[in-house]
Symmetry: C2
Subunit: 339 residues, 2 copies
Amino acid sequence: MSKSPGEFHLIERLLKRLGSGRRAILGPGDDCAILPANRARQLLTIDSMVEDVHFKLTWGTPEALGARALTVNLSDVAAMGGKPTVCVVNLAVRDGLGMRFFDRMYRGLQSAAARAEVEVVGGNITRAGALAITIALLGEVRGAALRRDAARPGDTIYVTGTVGDAAAGLQILSGQLRARAAARKFLIDRFLRPTARLQAGLRLARIKPAPAAIDLSDGLWQDLGHILERSEVGAEIDVSAVPLSAAYRAAVGDDRALALRGGEDYELLFCLRRAVAAPALTRSLGVRVSRIGRITSSGKAVGKVVSGTVVLVNAPDSVGRSRRPLLAGWDQLRSQPGG
Amino acid sequence: MSKSPGEFHLIERLLKRLGSGRRAILGPGDDCAILPANRARQLLTIDSMVEDVHFKLTWGTPEALGARALTVNLSDVAAMGGKPTVCVVNLAVRDGLGMRFFDRMYRGLQSAAARAEVEVVGGNITRAGALAITIALLGEVRGAALRRDAARPGDTIYVTGTVGDAAAGLQILSGQLRARAAARKFLIDRFLRPTARLQAGLRLARIKPAPAAIDLSDGLWQDLGHILERSEVGAEIDVSAVPLSAAYRAAVGDDRALALRGGEDYELLFCLRRAVAAPALTRSLGVRVSRIGRITSSGKAVGKVVSGTVVLVNAPDSVGRSRRPLLAGWDQLRSQPGG
């Protein structure tokens, strides 16, 4: 039942070709890759992109798809302040996709790997009803890691880049939003070709005490919620300070609802014990940084909107869940005219 | 588009519960797991099980499914002579499966992990059209690794356990083969509940020079082919020496065609420079071992059947493929009366 059709062999060869062999003692082609001993602590993450759930093939090029499958993992390593090293790729292949497609997809993946100095050391191919790319990525962290549980009341909250662009791009791709050519291209590109903030993550990891951090994959609202839950704190967000791109403003306007809810920007959200002016952080991290709020003590109030400041309080219910109150907070925000 | 439905949160919590935290500095719940520095060389592998490709839910229990998803990865580490350490789990979830199902599946996965002293340090959940479990497993190897490219002409070829049982079990499950109750149960169990030969792998890794080895996932014929291809050698297999279980004989008879072609037994095939009597190996590896042939020089003859001995020669064609000649050899074998 799991036997490989003929073309699998060719795809497997493609996969083996990926290994460039500098980091690994043994790359693709055996039961496992062999990696050298590692004096640094290691990071390990896994992420998956499934056709018709995370992407449609008509939306972009195979190269962009391959690159994005790695980038979503790179972003997890960036959010821990680590340096990615090696990865393994599981490819679920459906009928109707030719070698040319896989060749191009792998080329995109390989380019993204080379840019991040990551080596593809192994992989696996399986048949499936839909195309899916699942990547497990190893990294290393030499200083303190940027953890979700490190936020403390009084910390200042920052975010890199602009948020909501990928969500707007996705809405354009799926026909829910219209925009002029330049904004359209920018927003779609932000969705199809995200950038993992690896350099910013590495630089943040030099700050003491180590900042709490997370990458924005589920959306600012939900990802901030993860920090609050793990750190057992609350937050006040100045919604008007949440950074929007000119393209987002052109396509969506000043409504930040999509920017707060929409995911897949792969920017970093982080919390500093000692506040630093955003322009100074922008210079030292090499990417635009905006100050958007502060961490507060945990409490019972949930999603209170006080003249543009959202009070996000981590208020676990009796079984320890805190997602529901946060989403309630979000609903309340969305119901405000103009965000 | 990739937003999580409500139940995801519960499944995620289930996943986080898995981390027991002895090996990892930080387990599930952050962007990445944090692992301590490692003085040993490491192994890394990824494997996937997809509904309706590798399994049907009606075939077995959710517990067996969870355990098997890890076992196929453990087997890859066993085949390198390593000790598995930590894993991350990517779960693709389709509609129609309740929390009870996932709870039971994770319990099976967790039991298999505990038995192998493996820690689940992270994971990811995504929606998909079919259930799929993809696991990336790390291991460590302290001595020499058992590589596919280490076979040399003159090596003796051995296999652990019996082969063809899982393939027969799969044929029974899919209604292609009938067997009496005892044989039926044994063969189906061999398919649904395979054992990774971790102890045998570790003990093989103490032999010098390090044996070539591979686990039988694609079937003896094809997996031996991987060793021949990587080592650039040929092989002679004494088909009558390929070990069959009593249940296999009861259900299939003495025809070894299915035993040679059928995969998913997760036994080890290995090659020793200095021949050792099978009973002595059986004692030292803690699992039945059978001697089935020898490695020869590479050459041009393909799949010659000489009175029960199959001459398997690795004969790459002009583009370096060797799978086709091996399969041709297989076809020739199958056409012989009585295997």
